[in-house]
């Protein structure tokens, strides 16, 4: 309600106004000033949801035969909710709403509203009663939830709503289609678990991200205090932090924020680049075409190589220092991240998947956690079973990931028998058809990959990054059965010559 009041009072967006009123971003525990919330809705809603005005909400019974509530939100701009009115629930007379084809219902509702209230709406949302129940439950105690708990419960809510088909929107925005298909595609793999897994893998960090735009600069602060899953988040504008941005340089702004927020690192991105990346993700089709994933990867890598062109960071990563790069060149290693071959890397991955796994294949991915297994031999009969954590069967058909199936422990291991990737392959093939490849990766290696590639960028430790390759060569951390040619090559080469061979593909020439 506070935000509606705020929106209705604000005439024109003006960041320079002194803001006393703090509001909560709807459906989150994040409290920030009203200006930011207004700005976010004004910016994001037209891009991701609908660019026209006014929304009509229906609450219907779970069996779809009764309209329980009808609310009209008036928006002076798309996304900026200004006021709402509860309309008579029998205003639109429709026996049963055809939820699979909302076009007709949209047109009927539009003409009734035009006739009776002389107003047009652009978007129609239908909540089954169950969805509202879930949303209400989600909102209980929301303010007291920390950021990590909030994201977890929010993802859980989304999962339930889409899995049970209890929320509809017409016309369907890309983000809605994406989430609906993603959840179907994930086939029981919970989004909140994926999030939890990834957060757990990250070492403690304290970073601030500046999202730049002409209209309003946003400052995001993320912090993970322990190695567990304590994640915090705050949202500011420069004004909130007492920073006057008039004529300020990027570098000065980043350094000021680093100081004010006591951040280890500060990143600077442009809002439109982030939005463009998100739009590309939401446009993904399901079943997932590998070439679309490759396209996203190309975008990300292109962004990555555009350091000091499209994005900035303080402290400046030492790897970008030409002298240091020159020194490691003396060891025969070319490592210029500004020359990362943003299109050749995805191409190589794409070709490798096609030729090694084939255009149709089923591949089993096993995640282990050997850090929990301290006793015994790593080649013991039950070693793999003891360190097993999760498994996914990924089915590819004509370069599309058509299915991801979580596999139970009992489907993989035969009691009392020596369990290795080979026995697992034949065991799983019996139930799911011929499995081409079994890939085993350990959590410790995932930790290393995430931390070495994301959070340790500013440190100049090229040889510590070789540790990741070393771990890939250790069968306890990474193993493939049967041994596909690239894996065979990796295992047969010394780390240095392998690194050189790969870096020539990964990094473009003419680097100095």
């Amino acid at each position: 309600m506070k935000i509606l009041k705020y929106n209705s009072n604000i005439e024109l967006f003006d960041e320079s106004k002194e803001l006393k009123e703090r509001v909560r971003i709807p459906l989150t525990p994040i409290e920030t000033d009203g200006n930011i919330v207004y700005y976010l809705f004004e910016l994001l809603y037209p891009i991701f949801i609908n660019e026209q005005q006014n929304i009509l909400d229906f609450v219907i019974s779970d069996n779809e035969d009764e309209i329980l509530k009808l609310i009209l939100y008036e928006t002076k701009k798309a996304g900026v909710h200004e006021s709402y009115q509860i309309l008579p629930k029998d205003l639109i007379k429709s026996k049963k709403i055809d939820l699979d084809n909302l076009n007709d219902f949209f047109n009927i509702a539009q003409s009734v509203l035009m006739k009776k209230n002389n107003i047009r709406f652009s978007s129609l949302r239908i909540f089954k009663n169950k969805a509202l129940e879930y949303i209400n439950n989600f909102c209980i105690g929301l303010e007291d939830r920390n950021f990590h708990e909030f994201i977890q419960t929010f993802l859980e809510l989304i999962h339930k709503i889409f899995e049970q088909n209890i929320f509809y929107i017409y016309p369907e925005p890309n983000i809605y289609k994406f989430l609906k298909k993603l959840i179907l595609f994930l086939n029981g793999v919970k989004l909140n678990n994926v999030f939890k897994f990834l957060v757990e893998k990250l070492a403690a960090f304290n970073v601030s991200i500046i999202l730049n735009s002409e209209k309003l600069i946003l400052i995001l602060k993320f912090q993970k205090i322990n190695s567990g899953s304590d994640l915090t988040f705050q949202l500011y504008t420069p004004r909130n932090l007492g920073i006057n941005i008039d004529g300020i340089s990027k570098k000065r702004l980043m350094n000021l924020i680093k100081f004010k927020l006591k951040a280890e690192k500060v990143y600077f991105f442009n809002q439109n680049h982030v939005i463009s990346l998100l739009s590309s993700i939401f446009e993904l089709e399901f079943p997932l075409k590998i070439e679309n994933l490759i396209f996203i990867l190309q975008k990300v890598l292109f962004g990555f190589r555009s350091f000091e062109n499209h994005w900035y960071m303080v402290p400046r990563p030492k790897i970008y220092n030409p002298l240091r790069r020159f020194l490691i060149r003396l060891f025969g290693i070319t490592l210029n991240l500004k020359k990362i071959s943003h299109w050749a890397i995805p191409e190589l991955i794409f070709n490798s998947i096609n030729s090694n796994f084939g255009l149709n294949s089923k591949n089993l991915l096993i995640l282990t956690n050997i850090s929990k297994y301290k006793k015994g031999k790593t080649n013991g009969l039950d070693f793999l079973e003891k360190v097993f954590r999760n498994a996914l069967l990924i089915e590819i058909e004509n370069r599309r990931i058509i299915n991801i199936n979580p596999i139970n422990r009992k489907d993989l291991f035969i009691n009392g028998k020596s369990n290795n990737l080979e026995t697992i392959k034949s065991q799983i093939s019996e139930k799911y058809g011929v499995v081409s490849t079994v890939i085993k990766i350990d959590s410790l290696l995932v930790n290393e990959i995430i931390n070495k590639s994301v959070s340790n960028l500013s440190k100049f430790k090229p040889f510590s990054k070789l540790k990741v390759i070393k771990m890939f060569k250790n069968k306890n951390f990474f193993n493939i059965y049967p041994e596909i040619p690239p894996y065979k090559l990796m295992m047969g080469k010394r780390i240095k010559s392998l690194t050189k061979l790969i870096l020539r593909v990964f990094i473009d020439k003419h680097e100095f």
Partner: protein
């Protein structure tokens, strides 16, 4: 030569939701597996085993599983599976990479190491021992004054099943079962040998293809399958028969199977809208009495031929359609030998050299065949002469010499920017090595990585053994 009893020729066309279900339905339509396999039979299943790569370069392993199980159920004493792979690649290498030996064992089948590559890593083989094993594993067979060696396990099997993954092919439009049968003999015996090549007549009449067709049919006549399956449930189209950058997999849901290879191929060609006379392999097979190609005389069970109209995107029929970035491809008169090898080399480059092709110097000409057109920029272009015809016919061409004119005199220099890929036709793996030497590994990092990856399963000492064992 068999006399064909057209009434006994049966072909089933089946359509289904999954490959497994479709094959089972097809076998059922033909009267069940026991019509083909008797109790106590030794069965040999010939499948596509080309490279250590995923489906559909090789046969769908789900289909093989069904076949092995069906043969065992019918009381087969032993079920062997095998084929000779691509030149330079051993069966052991593919088996290790794809886990074939163990996979077939788990299904109660046995991978036949037709090339004896399971012995390649063993020590202590003197020439005497080698001869004993060779004699034990191969028979020499003469057909039309040609000698082939063929694994005894195939000849001695009571029943022979051919299961073929249908993919597009640059020479025969599609890889059908007649073509699949060719790889029951080692690569050495699949090669077309003709010392009197490079003359216009040879090229104009495409004698290479004629000889190849004769050879395929000769090999086919040695042991004809009892049950033939063309699996076109999924077809690799646009570029093939192995997976390339331009390849696409299309799902038809169809399989064609029967007891006569020529009939099965003829029906498959018909429903795929391939001109029945072209691929001429089928018509030649019929002429030689090796099977029945006349659709009107074939007993067709299941789906109606007229109701199926598949449109498959064929391979590029001209080499310059491959479109290699920074390369211009120029062809003179050429036979199918160079066409096929150049097709594969160009596609392989397109697939595995994307970065290299982008950053390579922009002027490169690829000249193929007899008397090819001149390169675009003489003196600037890197000129690649592919095949003996291109090398021999351009000996006296101007582009071989660079003229440097100064005020006082003219200087003639040999154009060093010429790479000769010799052979009739050239060998692809050798071409890759020569390309890397010519351009340098630094300029072709992707091809270098690819070549190292290939070398990881085709080490020199093992490929040498293929020659020693007469199977390379």
């Amino acid at each position: 030569m068999d006399l064909i009893n057209s009434e006994a020729v049966e072909v089933a066309i089946v359509k289904g939701e999954t490959p497994k279900e479709t094959l089972l339905n097809g076998i059922e339509k033909l009267g069940g597996i026991s019509k083909y396999i008797n109790n106590g039979d030794q069965v040999f299943i010939k499948f596509n085993l080309i490279l250590p790569s995923g489906f559909p370069t090789n046969t769908n392993f789900d289909i093989l599983e069904i076949l092995i199980q069906a043969c065992n159920k019918a009381g087969a004493k032993k079920v062997y599976l095998g084929s000779f792979p691509f030149k330079g690649v051993t069966i052991k290498a593919i088996s290790d990479i794809l886990g074939l030996k163990k996979h077939f064992e788990s299904l109660k089948g046995e991978l036949a190491f037709l090339d004896n590559s399971n012995y390649f890593y063993m020590k202590g083989f003197n020439s005497k021992k080698l001869k004993v094993i060779k004699n034990r594993s191969f028979s020499r067979v003469n057909v039309n004054n040609k000698t082939f060696i063929i694994p005894k396990v195939i000849l001695d099997s009571d029943k022979f099943i051919s299961v073929n993954q249908v993919n597009v092919d640059p020479l025969f439009k599609c890889r059908l079962s007649l073509l699949n049968s060719y790889s029951i003999v080692p690569n050495k015996y699949q090669e077309i040998k003709n010392p009197q090549r490079h003359n216009q007549e040879y090229l104009l009449n495409d004698k290479y293809k004629q000889d190849l067709t004769s050879n395929i049919l000769d090999v086919f006549s040695i042991k004809k399958p009892n049950l033939v399956i063309n699996d076109l449930f999924y077809v690799l189209e646009a570029a093939g028969p192995v997976i390339y950058k331009d390849s696409n997999l299309t799902k038809t849901g169809i399989m064609v199977l029967g007891n006569d290879t020529v009939a099965v191929d003829a029906v498959t060609s018909k429903i795929m809208n391939l001109n029945i006379k072209n691929p001429d392999l089928i018509s030649r097979a019929e002429e030689e009495g090796l099977g029945l190609a006349d659709i009107s005389k074939i007993k067709i069970i299941g789906e109606n031929v007229k109701n199926i109209d598949l449109i498959i995107k064929e391979c590029a029929s001209k080499l310059d359609e491959t479109k290699l970035q920074n390369f211009s491809i120029k062809t003179g008169n050429l036979c199918s030998g160079c066409f096929k090898q150049a097709y594969h080399l160009l596609n392989l480059m397109k697939t595995n050299m994307t970065k290299d092709l982008k950053y390579i110097t922009p002027n490169n000409s690829f000249l193929i065949g007899d008397d090819p057109p001149d390169p675009n920029n003489i003196g600037k272009d890197n000129i690649i002469l592919f095949g003996d015809c291109a090398i021999n016919s351009t000996r006296k061409k101007e582009f071989k010499i660079i003229v440097k004119e100064s005020k006082k005199k003219r200087k003639y220099k040999v154009n060093k920017k010429v790479l000769k890929l010799s052979g009739c036709p050239p060998d692809i793996f050798k071409c890759i090595k020569l390309l890397l030497n010519y351009y340098g590994k630094r300029d072709l990092p992707m091809l270098n990585l690819y070549s190292k990856t290939v070398a990881s399963y085709t080490p020199e000492k093992i490929t040498k053994k293929l020659r020693i064992w007469e199977v390379g």
